[in-house]
Symmetry: C2
Subunit: 302 residues, 2 copies
Amino acid sequence: MLEAEYCSQAKVTRQYFMMQVLEYIADVRRAVALARGHERTSIGFVPTMGALHTGHASLIRAARQQDDFVVVSIFVNPTQFGPQEDLRNYPRPLERDLAMCREEKVDLVFLPSATEMYGDGSFTQVRVELLSRTLCGAHRPGHFDGVALVVTKLFNIVQPDRAYFGQKDAQQATIIRRMVRDLNQPVDVVVCPTVREADGLAMSSRNAYLSPEQRTQAPVLYRSLQMVSLAIAKGEHRVEQLRLLACVEIQSVKAVNIDYLELVDPETLQPVNQLGRQVLAAGAVRLGAARLIDNLLIDVPD
Amino acid sequence: MLEAEYCSQAKVTRQYFMMQVLEYIADVRRAVALARGHERTSIGFVPTMGALHTGHASLIRAARQQDDFVVVSIFVNPTQFGPQEDLRNYPRPLERDLAMCREEKVDLVFLPSATEMYGDGSFTQVRVELLSRTLCGAHRPGHFDGVALVVTKLFNIVQPDRAYFGQKDAQQATIIRRMVRDLNQPVDVVVCPTVREADGLAMSSRNAYLSPEQRTQAPVLYRSLQMVSLAIAKGEHRVEQLRLLACVEIQSVKAVNIDYLELVDPETLQPVNQLGRQVLAAGAVRLGAARLIDNLLIDVPD
């Protein structure tokens, strides 16, 4: 399924002299070891599924700023898609992605095939219990197991000092932070702020699925989260009231269906009954062919 | 539960000038990084639960021979014991273990507490499906999940180039080999031959549980496996016949109870109906307070 685009890859590789584009794990290991060389070189890593946008660029820039050698992986990971999900249709604008990587001065792009990553399949599962079962995990069974597996594999292949993730995928970031801690993975997880369009819509590769009309409707999710934040600042602390506020706002746009809208503990991701010092307001909605997620980490005034 | 012996550790540490004994993950990382230094130093790692015997010594010697810097961990891992198992009573002769490590010229002993390893617990599970459910896995639910978790953690802490395991724990070795492959863990797994007493009994820390009389009975497991091997060499290829042969031999000793006696595929660990080119004959028996395991990897003549 992923084979088609790799045919054009050898050609693409030749266009970029500064940046390595590698398909094989062994080559990546060698290149990273060489980069690390004799002295202490820090390796920054941005794992992606491609279809890169400004959000990804902000991660790459953060890595570029902190680390000596920046690795980006582009891999549409089949194990994190459910059978009814958009694995086949997920956008794969490889040449544009590589152009952006070159522009952002990425040192190495790891571009494996599914075969290179999984061979004859994986008997081994990595599962972050509790955190993987709520929010998106409840609506996408197995999704975060697939994420935990592929991120563990990528960490072991690239062996970065720091890895960069977006706050937009708050649950993913929380799960990976916990996994790194539980498994003692020798990597610092850096979570960077959500990058938004001018109207507030969180950058996402899946925004490409939106029709022009849907695109004008999509910011309602962020707007609803902002309303929650504002209400909390004004003293509304009743969780059910806050949820209702957000849901009513979202439902004002008929085309949008709510998967969930929750106020959860930022560490455990479990719904809260009363507000602590910080709360994560997180939602997922469906709009046409797109499933959109967003969240706000909100400080609660005493 | 593990705290008692660590009180005497500072004292113990001072006795050995050549060998580092470290309790904290951060210290181990620092020591390994320092050892690796500016040039290519290879790190060999022997994870153990202590109660070291000649079998462990053979692993350490293999590491000593191949690697520049040898790390041994001693950690009685609670997550691989079932609630009814021998976690409390597992032998912990710490000073003798450290003496053996010193004798075998170990560079670093990692001696963590359960708190250092697990803190407030692990949400994350590492599970090697299929391979973990047969043989000992069927009799010790969760055991190999605990092994996979702790070995992954230890690999991430020590970051060895090679890790050494005994063929005596054939299922464990197979599971770890598969896990390393599935997760792309950057370590070579080296499996060393089973070391036996003069009468054939496989070396095991749990042999300490045997009374003198039981000790004379214990070699029956190995003897039964040898009978299988001999019968195969003589042309007996009927799996049920071979199993029966072994079971009858074991049952000749009344005090011994069979947990399982199987002929399995060495890669998948699934019972075979007919012999391939190689077969793993593996058994587990209970004798008094001890659960003993053993196995033979048998080449099948055409």
